[in-house]
């Protein structure tokens, strides 16, 4: 008798349907980018449709996770064999499907969502040290695309949230998936979504949640992309190329939405981070890599300061070009280690 799903916000059949696909995507993660590139039509699109069909079929079987994954792999393997028997396939398609077939045979039933989250939360915990809050992952479902998008234009029908305030036992990160459209691109974007939650929100010290905060959703979001880029190889070498690529594509999608307060906050925060980076390069003679590290360090330090979010937003709002002279003095002092980040935050506010 199978046990209950590991995520209590999912019906057992829904969990099985998600796990079946996620286990396959995890097993084939080294070829996910190619799978996405070639999924626009032809035999590769057909292979993905086969996988979706078998995932739905197996979700109706009341079996344990291991049996489930073994069964869907067997079915998809057989479907790939049938496809590979067709003579019209071009060489690139044949090569990809052959590789996928070999890779999927190594699929395992361990919860891939928790595996990704465990790696990211471990690195974020090391980054924040004693300021880190313990965090748990909960996978839940939504019944429509989170941004109202359609698959070819926005193949990421996933989002994540961290309810505020955190509970007594720590923060809860909720990964929300529109199961009907969960495909390889969405799987490859999961590390970015979870890195955003772990870098921006899990350890945050603030007074409230604010989705249009230029600091929490913009400045820190820029830093989350920086850290994902740093961490991707450590998390999973084989998955890293697809993770980095889909993080970039998701970022492009999210920063092209300036029609909402949340979208504008993201843009303002990203621009502030870029302005600060350029200032570090110019005023402190740092090379771009060193500059990015300093922006990230400052953001992480500010995120740990128990101050109202509007003060941090105000700091970000002052990072326009040119940066005001008083703030430049304070930034130089912080960069040289003469003042801590909370003093920088205070001086930015006092100067106002």
């Amino acid at each position: 008798m199978p046990g209950p799903p590991p995520h209590t916000d999912l019906e057992p059949w829904m969990w099985r349907s998600l796990l079946a696909r996620a286990a396959v995507f995890h097993a084939t993660r080294t070829r996910l980018s190619a799978l996405c590139d070639m999924s626009g039509g032809g035999a590769v699109q057909g292979a993905l449709r086969d996988l979706e069909m078998w995932a739905k079929e197996c979700s109706l079987q009341d079996v344990d996770d291991e049996t489930l994954v073994a069964w869907v792999v067997q079915q998809w393997d057989a479907a790939l064999t049938r496809t590979l028997g067709m003579q019209y396939l071009d060489a690139a398609t044949r090569d990809l499907l052959t590789e996928l077939q070999e890779l999927v045979r190594r699929a395992c039933s361990a919860d891939p969502f928790r595996k990704i989250f465990a790696g990211i939360s471990s690195l974020a915990s090391a980054l924040y040290g004693s300021a880190w809050r313990s965090a748990t992952l909960c996978v839940a479902h939504i019944r429509s695309h989170p941004r109202g998008g359609t698959l070819p234009l926005d193949p990421y029908p996933v989002t994540a949230t961290t309810p505020w305030p955190p509970g007594d036992s720590g923060a809860k990160v909720e990964l929300q998936i529109f199961c009907d459209e969960f495909g390889p691109a969405a799987y490859a974007a999961l590390p970015m979504l979870l890195t955003h939650e772990c870098v921006c929100h899990v350890p945050a010290r603030q007074d409230r949640a604010k989705n249009d905060s230029a600091f929490a959703e913009g400045f820190l979001d820029w830093v989350a992309y920086f850290f994902l880029d740093q961490w991707a190889g450590k998390l999973d070498t084989g998955f890293a190329p697809a993770v980095r690529r889909h993080a970039r594509e998701l970022r492009h999608l999210l920063t092209s939405r300036s029609d909402t307060p949340e979208g504008r906050a993201r843009l303002v925060g990203h621009e502030a981070a870029e302005t600060l980076l350029a200032w570090f390069e110019d005023a402190c003679h740092l090379d771009p890599d060193e500059g990015r590290v300093r922006v990230a360090q400052l953001a992480v330090q500010l995120n740990q300061i128990e101050r109202p979010l509007h003060e941090k937003d105000y700091f970000v709002s002052r990072l326009g070009s040119p940066i005001p002279p008083d703030l430049q003095v304070a930034l130089r002092d912080w960069e040289a280690g003469r003042i801590p980040a909370d003093a920088l935050l205070c001086s930015a506010a006092v100067a106002a």
């Binding site: 209590t8 916000d9 999912l10 019906e11 839940a140 479902h141 939504i142 019944r143 429509s144 909720e174 929300q176």
Partner: protein, 119 residues
């Protein structure tokens, strides 16, 4: 003992009142079975299923409008044991099952306005 009606109002989410009502009815039907997982969840939340035999829940649209996403959903729970029991029943027993079935955005944000208990 008179039933106490406790109402909570939400912004509309992904689900219609009819869809929500269907799941709520299903949960309450399971609550009547003392051996069910729902009855166990109620006991774990400090509720005694036998004392909830008279519970009645109604989900309805709070208004009509050209933009369904802007309308509200009203969840009313009537139970003799009082509004606190109704709150616990909703929060700990009914809502977790609704969100599992219909998704975490089945209901939108809760609206504090127009919520009160009445006998």
């Amino acid at each position: 003992m008179a039933l106490v009606m406790s109402e909570r109002r939400y912004q509309r989410g992904d689900a219609s009142a009819a869809q929500l009502q269907e799941v709520v009815d299903e949960v309450l039907a399971h609550l009547a079975d003392p051996d069910s997982e729902v009855a166990s969840a109620a006991r774990a939340a400090g509720l005694e299923p036998a004392e909830l035999s008279d519970v009645n829940a109604e989900v309805r649209e709070g208004a009509q409008g050209a933009e369904p996403v802007l309308t509200t959903i009203v969840v009313g729970i009537a139970v003799a044991a009082g509004s606190r029991v109704a709150d616990t029943l909703w929060e700990e027993v009914i809502w977790p099952r609704v969100r599992r079935r219909l998704g975490v955005k089945a209901l939108g944000a809760r609206s504090a306005a127009l919520e009160d208990g009445r006998s």
